[in-house]
Structure formats: C-alpha cells, structure tokens
C-alpha cells in the first residue's frame, strides 16, 4: 500500500513542526495566548495526524497505549505534586508564591510553569487515549460484507 504519497510526505514534514509549535504554545503560554491545554491538544494532534495517515499500528509503535495511560496520570500527579510541595513549605495548597517566599511573583511564575506542564502532559495523554479508543474499535462491517 503506497497510496497517498503527497499526504505521507507532507505529514512527515508537518509532525515535527506541530510538536515544535506545541512546545512553543506550552512555554510561551504565560506571555501570550496558550498554555497547557492548548499545547496538549496540539501535541496530540501531531500523533493523531500520524495515526490517520500511517495507521493505528504505526502510531502505537511510537506511542504505546500503556505509556498514554501513565502520562494521563503523571500530568495530574505533577499538578497535585506542586500543590503538595506548597503545603510542605507551609503555605496553602497551590500557593505558588511559597516556591520563592522572598519574591512571591517569581514563585508564582515557577509554579504556573510546572502546573501548565502537568496540564499539557495530561491533555496530550487524554486526547491520544480518546483517539486510540475510537480508532481501536473493530468496524461492525468489514469491507467484504457490503
């Protein structure tokens, strides 16, 4: 099966750029529109596009389902972990200022970057998991059944 030559070449070119753009949206999120959620969706789009063009097996070779599950959990744990760290430092849950008590605003900055990283990881995982769940369903009717 070597159909859709243009699609395959363009996809290969685009996947890298989409991932790069995802990182841009992720880390530039505190200065411009964007942040963890958008970045996570864009990141997932790169893999979903790859899966759509090259097939589910190929993309699951790159990104096995078990890793997707772990990522979903890891992002949430990272988010909550920052909050717990704030608690251990003697402040309220998610009081990022505690990360740098002498410069509260610096602490806020550090905190939100980690929080957004957690959001990004989880959203990436969830989006890919949803795609896997739908794409992985065997079709009710095979091509020969028509």
């Amino acid at each position: 099966m070597q159909h859709h030559l243009i699609l395959r070449v363009i996809t290969k070119l685009l996947v890298g750029m989409i991932i790069l753009f995802a990182f841009y949206v992720q880390f530039h999120g505190d200065f411009s529109p964007g942040g963890g959620f958008q970045a996570g969706v864009i990141m997932a789009v790169a893999f979903i596009l790859y899966g759509l063009v090259f097939g589910l097996e190929k993309v699951q070779g790159v990104f096995p389902p078990w890793i997707v599950h772990k990522l979903v959990a890891l992002g949430v744990l990272l988010y909550a972990g920052v909050g717990v760290l704030n608690m251990l430092l003697g402040y309220e849950f998610l009081h990022y200022g505690s990360l740098d008590p002498h410069h509260m605003s610096h602490g806020q900055h550090t905190g939100i970057i980690w929080i957004e990283a957690g959001v990004g990881i989880t959203v990436t995982g969830v989006m890919i998991a949803i795609y896997y769940a739908f794409a992985g369903r065997p079709p009710r009717l095979g091509d020969d059944d028509w």
Binding site: A73, L77, G83, M87, G90, E92, F93, H102
Partner: protein, 522 residues
C-alpha cells in the same frame, strides 16, 4: 520586578490543611493507582485512602460540631476572589457519611468487584471509584458555586463509567449508564446556567459573598430564573420525583459495590447542594416567598413517597425494588425541606444519614445474594436467607430500618419528620407519613418472604457469602441498630446543621463585613 520583601508567614500545620486533604487524598490516589497500574496495589491504595478520608472527616465533624466553621483558601487567595473550602456542621455531616460509606464499602468491593468485573478493568475501576469519592466530597466541601459544578462533573463522569461496568454481567448497564449520562448532563447544564445567572447578577462566585449580594434583589427575574434552573438541575441529580427516571436502571445494572456506594451517597450529596443553595445562597425568606416549597417540592415529595413505594411493591427484582424505594425515601427528605422549619431540616439531615446506612446494608445484601444466586429476582433468591443466615439477618435489619421500626435508625428520622409535622399542626401529614411507611412494610415483607419462607432454588450456590462481604454488611447493620438506640450524636449533629442552615447566610458574617468594607472603599 518584585523586590525582596520580609516574609511574615506562620507555617500552616497539618490541622490547617485538613479541608484540602479531605479532597486531595482520594484525588491523588486515583492517578497513583493508574500510574502504578498494579492490580494488586489498586485495592489496598483505595482502601487506605478512604480510611484516611474517614479519619479526616471525623476530625472535621468534631471540630465544627459547636456550630463554628473552618475556611480554607486555595492557593492563598482569600475569598471572594479565590476558591474557598468551607466546612460547617451541615457539610461536615455529609462528608462524614460519604467517607464512612466509602470505607465500609471498600472491603465489600474486593470480592464483589472480583466477581462482577473482569480483571483487566480492576485498576481503572478503583481509580474511577476514587474520583467519584473525590467529586462527591468536593461538591459538599466547597464554598464556591462554580467549584460545585466542577466537582459535580468529576463525580458524575466517574459515576457513568462505574455504572457502565455492570455491562460485563448485563449489557443493559450500557443503556442505563447512557440514560444517566444524558439526564445527568441536562441536570448539570441547568445547574451551571443557574450559576451563570447568579454570576451575572452578583458578579461573584463565592457562596457567602453571593448570598450577601443577593439580599435586596427582591423580584429580580434573573435571580428567580437562576433559582428555578438550580432546583431543577439538582433535582435531576437528586432523582427528585418526577425527575427520577435514570435512577432505577442505573442502580439496578451497576455493579453491586457501585450501587451500594451511590445509593448511600450520590443523591445525598445532591440533596445537600439543593439545601445549601436554598437556605444559604438564596435566603430562606426568598425561598419562602417563591412558594415553591408548598406548591412544588412538598406535593412532589408526597407523590414520590406513595407512587415510588407502590411501584416498589410490584417489582420482581430485589435490587430494582430497592432503587424504587430509594426514590420514595428521597421523598421523605424533600418533605423535610418542604416543611420549612428547623425540625423539618433536622429530619432531612437525619434521614440523609440513616437512609444512607440503611441502603448500604441492603445493597450489600444484594451484592452477597448476587454472588451466590447469580441474580436477585425473587424466585431466584428464594430460601437464600436459610442458607445464608448472616446475610439474611442483615437484610432483615436493613429492611426494618427502611420501614422505620422502633430501635432502628429509620425510626429516628421518621420520628423527627412526624414531630416536624405536629409542630405545624399538620396531623394529616403525620398520618400520611405513617401510611407510606406501611407501604414499605409490604415491599420489605416480599423480600423476607422470598428469603425465608420458600424452598432454596437448586441453581444457587448454597453457601454463606465470604467474610469480607459479610463483615462490612454487619458493620452497617449494627450502625443501623446503634443509631436507632443512641441518637445523641446524630440528632445533635443534624440539629446544629439545620440551625445553621435556617439562619440563612447570617453565619457567614465575616465575609459580609469584609465585602462591605471593600464596597465602601470604592
């Protein structure tokens, strides 16, 4: 750039963090279970987490039992700007019910889940269970109106998944979960529309601040519409008659452990939210002026007590019968609200708790019967009381409590409800309450008759349920008896909660004065 400033901060201690830990512990357990992905670790983690929740909930309940409250500011942002967790007598009571039920159900779940759900789903099942607990407790603990919606969604989404897990035994669980999803989503949407209207009117999401700013809004149509949306939306989650259509199927087809937990907690948390909004956010006077209690909530509650009980009588399946009986019992709780008195609300709070433990016993009994008889149709569980004496006896105790026989927990709540009726010289209402309890006698008798007075079905496994199932069942059954005899704890807690609620937002004076001070500054 900020310059270095002197830090004046007293480190918070573990005690200060209790309100957030109440939510955080089950919440973090869910991703941890998924992250480790170990089937053998999932259950112990879930159990330890619910046990810790129970310890925290008990501590919170004790510390607010004098009518005070605890406020926790998330992220250090003071309300009304930040999200606030506010624990007072009313919600500490519901938190305790949720945590206690979770802790009792967990040991029961081990065998029951192993029997009813395929192995590969176990880790995710327990993760969902933890999220469900998180959501329900979050709905109850938060003092932020929008946060209620967020937690409501967490609990609802995980509940849909949990209900659908019954599909490995009966495919109809999928349609049940789907129905619940549609109804629950409509309910949540209505609720959030109501919150939106309130936000439009008041410009705040903090409940106490909202209550303060709503005063003097009088005939504002937006506020009235918000009230209508919130009551109908939460009414769907409560399964308030006639918005109950999702409940029988969801309870019937969900795995036994899930049904036990949901029946004892989910609708109760929703009732708490309705009460909280009626009496704290909207003032009691506002609710009274809309006449909704007399003309809508009250009559529907009475209808539920009779219609649902009658349907329960004609069921042929034990589990489905209990689901309809739950709808009837929700009627009693709403009736307590509709009476619009401190005693009435006390009855609601007491029944919330007592019905929770009663249904926990009965649904655990259902789970045990399911394990041995395979199904809970009356003809199949025939005679099982004789071959499973411990399970049978627990079911009888639960049944008596459901009827409201003196000496059981169910009696206390109905007694307070009847007292509330007499307080307002509504003797006919007292008669109606007693009459509807008689209907409960009929449907409970049908179960007892099937369990004891018939020959055991040959296809059933003639063996007592495993100890891990019987023990939690008996813990709940003994709680049923204990709270029927020693009523001090429960009546005091419920009365404190009811007094706080009937006082409207007066108990939230601290924020009101702060908001007033801020208003004069501008």
């Amino acid at each position: 750039m900020a310059t270095a400033t002197e830090v004046h901060h007293t480190a918070l201690t573990l005690t200060d963090h209790l309100p957030i830990l109440q939510i955080l512990i089950p919440f973090c357990t869910a991703p941890l279970i998924v992250f480790f992905g170990s089937r053998s670790l999932a259950w112990p983690m879930a159990f330890i987490s619910s046990l810790l929740s129970l310890i925290i909930a008990t501590t919170l309940l004790v510390s607010v039992s004098d009518g005070s409250y605890i406020s926790y500011h998330l992220g250090g942002w003071a309300p009304p700007v930040g999200i606030e967790y506010r624990v007072d007598a009313a919600n500490a009571f519901v938190l305790f019910l949720i945590a206690a039920t979770a802790t009792v159900v967990m040991p029961f779940a081990l065998k029951s889940v192993a029997h009813e759900i395929p192995k590969r789903n176990h880790t995710l099942f327990y993760a969902c269970f933890m999220l469900c607990i998180t959501g329900l407790m979050g709905v109850v603990i938060t003092g932020d109106a929008f946060n209620v919606f967020v937690f409501l969604e967490i609990s609802s989404l995980s509940t849909y998944v949990l209900v659908s897990q019954g599909s490995h035994r009966d495919k109809r669980a999928l349609t049940a979960a789907y129905d619940y999803l549609i109804m629950g989503t409509i309910g949540a949407t209505f609720f959030v529309i109501g919150i939106g209207f309130l936000y439009m009117t008041t410009g705040t999401l903090n409940m106490a601040d909202m209550a303060d700013r709503l005063q003097g809004q009088g005939d504002n149509r937006t506020v009235q519409a918000a009230f209508a949306f919130i009551v109908v939306g939460m009414g769907l989650k409560v399964a308030m008659y006639p918005l109950h259509l999702w409940l029988p199927a969801a309870y019937n087809y969900a795995p036994s452990a899930v049904t036990t937990f949901l029946a004892a907690t989910a609708t109760k948390a929703a009732i708490y939210v309705i009460i909280r909004f009626m009496f704290t956010v909207f003032q009691p006077d506002f609710v009274f002026d809309t006449h909704i209690l007399i003309w809508i909530i009250g009559p529907l509650a009475l209808l539920a007590m009779f219609a649902a009980s009658l349907i329960a009588i004609f069921q042929t399946n034990f589990k489905r019968m209990l689901a309809y009986s739950s709808i009837a019992q929700i009627g009693y709780m709403m009736l307590g609200v509709a009476m619009f008195s401190t005693t009435g609300l006390t009855a609601t709070m007491v029944h919330l708790f007592n019905h929770g433990i009663t249904k926990a016993v009965l649904f655990m009994g259902v789970g045990a019967l399911m394990l041995r008889a395979g199904t809970t149709f009356y003809d199949r569980i025939a005679g099982m009381g004789r071959v499973m004496p411990l399970t049978g006896a627990a079911i009888v105790i639960g049944g008596l409590s459901l009827i409201g026989v003196p000496g059981t927990a169910g009696f206390i709540s109905k007694w307070v409800l009847v007292q509330a009726a007499f307080e307002q010289d509504l003797w006919w209402l007292a008669l109606i309450i007693v009459a509807s309890s008689l209907l409960a006698v009929i449907y409970v008798w049908r179960v007892v008759e099937a369990l004891y007075l018939q020959e055991p079905h040959p296809d059933a496994i003639h063996k007592e349920a495993p100890m891990l199932m019987v023990a939690p069942m008996w813990v709940a059954a003994i709680a049923c008896l204990y709270f029927g005899l020693d009523t001090r704890f429960i009546l005091d807690a419920a009365a404190t909660a009811a007094e706080g609620l009937m006082a409207g937002s007066a108990g939230m004076a601290e924020i009101s004065t702060a908001a007033a001070a801020a208003a004069t500054d501008h």
